[in-house]
Symmetry: C2
Subunit: 551 residues, 2 copies
């Protein structure tokens, strides 16, 4: 139902299959209200998901029509539709006029694709006992919803207020298909992003990796990158319309009052709404359309940054949009960096950038330095300056390089040690010969046993073994393996990717690492690059685990 | 001819009058080549200036037509047109087929609005003697051009290669209306932005403030903010088309190869070119159009950030687009911060943001801390937490606050000292009474002599004196004045702004400071907020110097 297509740390581009319709995450569920359509549905075609409130629909004048036609026909929208139960609305008017069963039946009746039980909303100032009681009641309701959902996706609301152990508990039993972290709007409204980080990370660390995470009510694109860095997959936004209704014009750098822009006679944007217009022409609807463009733009930029392996650089930038985002980001790196380290990859197309002192806190930098220290030595040898992340632009601010370069052979041996374990390089490279590029003078290939034993990958400078080489590596680096079901063996032999569902067991390595693929008896049958981290491989049932290298 | 409309440090929004047509700076001169129009002129209507190469036109097949019609009719463009002499093209093909007089005559003939003499191009590896000889020859040519220019604007090329003293010399005599800093393309191509900072700042520090600065060949929008921070007003860009010709798709975060985006099936943009398109649909022309949108977007965002007084926050963000931009930006703050301090303002609508350790290097922060230390004390009193820049979000990372708050009266006295000089507060506030807001409990007004003597401005927490108060202040704070021509006195008395051309002399203060306006005899006649710094007021002949406060 959900799979990872590309990732960079905890940030991931995924594919979510909603009753046969596939959408790409991170994505935004655009909030639509049948009583007030600021932007007509037909103009939302660049988005993949809308969300509407079943509670509002139930009391709207269009109720009868929607019950009859279903949401898709009513809205003329053939992509997926997500419904919220209206918990928040109900509690904010303090009148629980509907039961869990009623809302779920109603959501089914109006043909929602993703249904949400009536969770018991936890207020930020609820005390522990109250929050706990609400959580237990919510669990019962999710359980009931699971019985009723049929082929629909079920949203599991994660409550618990500010009590992190309750949030953890709320994530301990997973019945739903999407984990929707709720009760965070008050924090976001107060720009209390530090507490937001604690809540989201507590959930992320407690949930299995294969469940998509929805940050309920997160609609300000300025914080999308921070949320994605923590593994959030879905946002929803009424913000585009709410902001527009009070004249708030979004730019990724700052939300600006349209009256301020009117004084400046300038719109700082070239989206299809703003390019030829002046601020005085901006109606509420046009501001809403523009705000949607900014939101879409940011989602697209985030996806492209993840796919391009430069999400961290992107995040560094977005962390500077506001002092409160910046402090939350530093908090994330300091408090949760250790957990994030498990998900990094050292396989990168491009060198990283030094962009301020927190570059030292990058989880991939920390992992690399730890591995280097354990396996190679304390000071980084300058011959590693072509190896990620030591190839960093401005890296002298982060890494202490020793003075004397390794000889060519030692350099390759140590590179193998860095990638697979101390002392392995010397053993596997016995009798090997180094071949350099005549043009650049750089080491390109390692020859042994009359063939190409390994190559050096441009971009990140890592060594990539051929089949012969990887067979030898696996004898020494026992943790670098993925064990697959016998059913999948013939496919791997043909060079097809290893899918998560056929993985029986994994060793210990990083996403991006070259690993041996072994059968149930532990016999080497091929190799490839892990697309995911071991935990992700084990948690996911769907999608590619290892991209197999053809020989 | 040139005036400042809004400023934030050296960054400025200006109005440049080109033969009666007014354009807003910072701006980009879009490079158009009659032999290869990647984007038709009619689609450049969102831009205000185009630049074309007279040398290319001279040898183009359209030459006759252009000579006959003039550039404006030929291009169907009724906004200003800038022509380059073609120095670079001539030197790069190594064949000087034209003299200075010939190119100037030709530029006049084709009815250019801004003409450029044939300067002698300095290569980055020219030795000092060669560079110096070229500079002297260039001076002669500029001098000749000045004789010929008539009502046209004259571009004064600033050469000197990497020799900063030659750059300084090239700025020591100003004959032109625009200073075009040349020979920087090779540096920008190599991402050597640190040397670029040295060159631009050397020029900026040597040129008078009223001359618009053109960074010749700067077309990558990623470095616009850095250049604007140094006082650059004009960019020119062939980059939109050159990049497009090699499939380079601009985003402000990164220039991306269109083939990489094709693999990702996603365009990270919502401009009017990209919103409904997929990467595979992007032709060279469409990429060029998109690149122009990104360029325009950045120019607009920069102008809005300056007008909104939050340019530094914007710069902090843009400094993180690339490690080489980041290191150049830190170099700028460290090496040229002292010069930049002269141009800052402490009058701001919004609190500044702590966005990383270099926030301590902000010129306005450094000025404020120096003034505080000189006039109030070493540790910042917490009662200053509502005063810019001590009202910084995350300010505890930058300022050492003492523990005990000042009493209300002492607080206001010290605020006056901070703004106008040590000991002044106690003297002027003798007998004054503080009035607080009933709603917020904040100090709002200072009453004295039976009237409102001063108010506290929300936003930056500064004290603003009424006419009576400012009269008293000026008796003690002798440097806070602008002396005007007698001609202007009646206008000031009616509350009209003081224009630069009527200023005879200025004291010592910062842009944004409240100053007394005095007549030629030094008699107080009114007060207002300086829009510009003293140096800018003296250098400019046009535009507002002080916005007069009406009583």
């Amino acid at each position: 139902m959900f799979q990872i297509k590309a990732k960079d740390g905890l940030a991931r581009v995924g594919e979510l299959n909603i009753r046969g319709k596939k959408i790409t995450t991170p994505t935004i569920a655009v909030v639509v209200n049948p009583n007030k359509m600021t932007v007509p549905i037909k103009d939302l075609k660049d988005f993949d998901l809308i969300i509407t409130n079943s509670y509002i629909i139930k009391s709207s004048k269009s109720r009868k029509e929607i019950e009859k036609k279903g949401l898709h026909k009513f809205f003329r929208w053939n992509k997926p539709i997500y419904t919220d139960s209206g918990t928040f609305q109900m509690y904010s008017i303090g009148d629980a006029r509907i039961t869990n069963e009623e809302t779920l039946e109603f959501q089914k009746k109006i043909r929602s694709d993703i249904i949400t039980p009536l969770d018991v909303f936890t207020f930020p100032d609820d005390d522990y006992t109250t929050a706990k009681r609400k959580l237990e009641e919510t669990f019962k309701r999710i359980e009931a919803a699971k019985e009723m959902k049929e082929d629909r996706l079920l949203c599991q609301p994660i409550q618990g207020g500010k009590f992190l152990d309750l949030r953890k508990k709320a994530c301990s039993k997973v019945y739903g298909d999407i984990a929707a972290i709720g009760g965070i709007v008050p924090l976001m409204e107060k720009y209390n992003f530090k507490d937001l980080v604690d809540i989201i990370m507590t959930c992320k660390m407690s949930l299995p990796q294969n469940i998509p995470i929805h940050a309920f009510g997160a609609g300000n694109p300025q914080i999308f990158a921070l949320l994605v860095a923590m593994g959030v997959d879905i946002f929803d936004s009424a913000a585009y319309a709410l902001y527009a209704s009070r004249g708030a014009y979004m730019t990724i750098e700052k939300i600006i009052d349209i009256n301020e822009l009117k004084e400046m006679h300038e719109l700082p944007c070239t989206c299809d709404v703003c390019k030829g217009r002046s601020p005085s022409e901006m109606t509420e609807e046009l501001i809403a359309r523009h705000n949607l463009n900014v939101t879409l733009d940011e989602i697209r930029k985030i996806r492209v940054a993840i796919k391009g392996g430069r999400f961290f650089e992107f995040l560094v930038n977005r962390a500077r949009l506001h002092a409160d985002i910046y402090s939350a980001y530093i908090h994330l790196l300091k408090e949760y960096g250790k957990f994030m380290e498990e998900f990094v990859s050292l396989k990168k197309k491009k060198a990283p950038h030094f962009l301020g002192m927190e570059t030292k806190l990058r989880p991939d930098v920390k992992v690399a330095l730890r591995l280097y220290k354990e396996r190679v030595g304390s000071k980084v040898n300058p011959s590693f300056k072509e190896v990620f992340p030591f190839n960093m632009l401005g890296g002298e601010n982060v890494f202490k390089f020793s003075k004397k370069e390794f000889s060519d052979m030692k350099r390759i041996e140590k590179l193998v040690d860095f990638q697979f374990g101390k002392g392995i390089g010397k053993k596997v490279l016995k009798g090997a010969v180094i071949e350099k590029s005549r043009k650049t003078g750089r080491i390109r290939r390692i020859l042994k046993k009359g063939g190409v034993y390994a190559t050096i990958r441009p971009g990140d400078g890592r060594i990539v073994f051929g089949d012969e080489g990887m067979r030898d590596i696996f004898k020494l680096a026992k943790d670098y393996y993925v064990k697959i079901d016998k059913e999948a063996v013939p496919f791997v032999k043909k060079g097809k990717s290893v899918f998560c569902k056929f993985v029986k067991d994994v060793g210990s390595f990083l996403a991006g690492d070259q690993v041996a693929i072994v059968d149930e008896k532990g016999e080497y049958i091929g190799n490839g690059d892990a697309l995911l981290s071991p935990k992700e491989i084990m948690d996911f049932d769907s999608g590619v685990a290892v991209v197999v290298r053809k020989n």
